[in-house]
Amino acid sequence: MSNEDVSAVADELRGMLAQVTGRPEVLGVPDGVRLFGAGVGLDSLAGALLLRQVQRRYGVDVAAEDLNLDALETLGTLAAFIAARCRGAS
């Protein structure tokens, strides 16, 4: 998996996040900022909607594969999780 893959996924995730939250400013969220709690301050419903979009776009069911949802810590960790799964499948 190349860094370019992860960064392309992260850019797409920012677009999805802006869509599910209706907050265009999240397009500027850096890869390393925490999505929940202090940080982006997502609520848990927005997180669940994001995971639904991820499943539709990449076929990766994060909620089923990651019991503790650690993949959702930041956009960077989520992008790496998805990129690793997509690469594993291809």
Binding site: G37, D43, S44, L45, A48, A63, L67, N68
Partner: protein, 354 residues
Amino acid sequence: MIKCVVWDIDNTLLSGVYLESGAELPDADRQLTGVLHQLAARGILNALASRNPPEAAAYVRQQTGADFAAVECGWESKADAIARIAAGLSLAPDAIAFVDDDMLERAEVAARLPDVLVLTPDEAAEAPDWPQFSPAVITAEARRRSQLYAERRCRQAAAAQFGGSREDFLRRAGTRITIGPAGPGDLPRLHELSIRTHQLNSAGQPLTQAELSGLLAAPEYAMITVRLADDFGDDGLVGAAITTGNGASGGLAAPVPAVSLVVSVPLIMMSCRALGRGVLDALLAWLCRSAVADGAAELRIPCLISERNVPMRLALATAGLRAEPASVAADGRAVFSRPLTGELPRLPDWVTVE
């Protein structure tokens, strides 16, 4: 259980076609107008999805005298309109019914949103007799539900205008969260929450009013309620938790009976209407802090692992709870836990503990 009915306008709520009627606009369908009000009185929301200009919705509101929690007027797909209504109201598709006289519209929605209950106007006329439209209890919160959603629309519009962070907005909106012990008067609402909550329900099984009453009386359990209000409106009782262990008093009033090192939380449930307002995070922070105050070293929250309650699991993770992947039991539950040392989740200063 259906929580929202999305209605078509032409030849459904109106006995005619709005745009084809010239100067003489069609009357409201009397039978379905009755259904609108009957459902609203049971706490079921009504919404509109119509291929019409927005004036048609205003006309229907005036003719029927009904409140609509969401209105989608436009010429795009009705499945998209229903998906937007569901997202705006934080409802899952299986909590929504859709009524349209047009067979093609019904077919499109049925194909794209298979969980939505799709009905003809004739079927909708009988819907009040069906179990999925007949909640067993109708609480004060239910009767005010369409008003609560109207307040919610105002709050969301203000939040979209507001430039600062979510926390700044919650503070500016005068958010007040009150955590306190449950009383017998809360039982009907707690029962209703146990039936209606899915996305934010850790146990994933409803409790009867008798079961809840038994838990309330049992000395080894504490039942905690969460109330939410702000300057836009009062949402009333939006959530609850049941705790056991050396937090049996829940840190509230009664003396702690025996000291054990673990506080367990067999149930957390929260209305989706409260989502995005920091209520579940506040409850989890309080559960940690109250367990610490009672001398516990660990907080445990068993949670059903399902597709629907992913928001619950996200909130648990945010509060620092983790489960062993190998520990998922045959019944689909995993025990999430965290040590009560180190940095605990923060309790915002607008939370009042009674």
